[in-house]
Point group: C2
Chain length 259, copies 2
């Protein structure tokens, strides 16, 4: 029937991840295919019986995988007409899984990275201001640990990137805004992937370790100075954006949703 039938079995291999649950593996596989554009909005995903016939995986496992994606707004199901990919604006683009899929399936499109940066520029400065007003002693310790690792690790190391992500996570946690905290996983994942991308594609040796700029933000938060924290955080995000210009991933054009 469907010409895509053979594609299914050739691309999806359950033995790829023997440790994970099957429905989770299928959801990962399908999620990556959708965010990468292999299946475009309004196209149909494999019919349940087709998938069963091609992969030998039970219908129930496949359906549970579909339900995961329906919950993220990426799929809509209608009897008879099949299960189709929802329009992009319905997706939860900051969902941690969606972020992960976006970066795991090759280089994400420019508009995506650009949009993430713009969101960080909106979120992180005011979050730093809230953090300055509301941070607890425990919150401060998280900053100190992250700064310590950033200071004594090399920027090429994995641990440095983890410390960088931890610093930005500490900002959001210290803001003590639950909704902001719920975006933490997605934003931090995006931060980690984008910085990793930046230094992998452009291991620019003369890029300075920005630990002092980070420390300056922390110092204002520790001093309970929301205005200063916001200002320094703005500079920090702007610097990160500037650093990204001139690399391969940025064209600085207006972001366009549809091609």
């Amino acid at each position: 029937m469907s010409d895509k039938s053979n594609i299914i079995s050739t691309v999806f291999d359950a033995s790829d991840r023997p440790d994970k649950r099957k429905n989770e593996s299928i959801a990962d596989w399908l999620g990556r295919r959708i965010v990468s554009g292999a299946i475009e909005p309004d196209e149909t995903v494999p019919k349940e019986m087709d998938f069963l016939a091609e992969t030998g995986i039970s219908r129930g496992a496949y359906r549970e995988a579909l339900r995961r994606l329906v919950g993220k707004g990426m799929l809509v199901t209608r009897t008879r007409s099949g299960t189709r990919v929802a329009p992009r604006e319905k997706w939860s683009l900051l969902d941690p899984d969606v972020v992960r899929w976006s970066f795991e399936s090759g280089a994400p499109p420019d508009w995506y990275i650009r949009a993430i940066y713009e969101l960080r520029a909106m979120i992180e400065p005011p979050a730093a201001a809230f953090a300055a007003e509301r941070r607890s002693e425990d919150d401060l310790q998280a900053f100190r640990d992250a700064l310590h690792s950033m200071r004594y690790c090399d920027m090429t190391e994995e641990s440095w990137h983890n410390a960088d992500a931890s610093f930005h996570r500490a900002i959001l946690i210290s803001s003590h805004n639950p909704v902001l905290l719920s975006l933490e996983a997605g934003i931090c994942a995006a931060v980690a992937f984008t910085t990793a991308f930046r230094y992998r594609d452009m291991p620019n040796p003369h890029t300075r370790n920005p630990v002092e700029e980070h420390a300056a933000v922390f110092e204002r938060i520790e001093a309970r100075d929301p205005v200063g924290a916001r200002r320094l955080m703005t500079e920090l995000v702007d610097t990160a954006l500037l650093d990204s210009r001139g690399t391969t991933v940025f064209d600085l054009g207006l972001p366009t949703l549809k091609v």
Copy 2:
């Protein structure tokens, strides 16, 4: 076995929504129970066999409902120990379903409404600035339609609230940032619910129709003036926050995540 067994059948009635799919109804019911705190983080949801025995609903439908919530980060499943509610910071609090559940299950807690307002104060002014730079002619028409309805409807009417939500939706759409757009559904749902809440609990007759403030923001966006648009949008959100003070839902204390 479980003492909660009888609770299941007494509270969940599949005939509540004869039009919806069963697994969707179950997900709604469970989602509301979780966000309302009836089942707290780290507690277990009904075991599959218990639910089947109490409600007569098949295991498959229940499992698909659970998958929806797993996809939203609200549940984690482990063999043998059961399916438990994840800690709050893992939930996608801006997911449209989660927003809906939060307001449908009675009055949401103060910290939730406060957190939403803080997020709007972060997001909407810069979004208005981007909108001023990037709005298309079609975008402008959406603003005009919303403003027309706001001007000629009474604030007590349902249509006025819809127009208000449409105006804020137009801001996010006109920003042409895909990630921001993906938050649109959740934010607009929250805006609509909070304003409806405000005027239902406090139908203050001397509250002015803020249509002119909205129109002023639109005028700056139409004139491609990002600085002006951002400034007026900031005033608009601050006014909404001020209006909410003194009502029953706000105490203006620091938001606390855990009680």
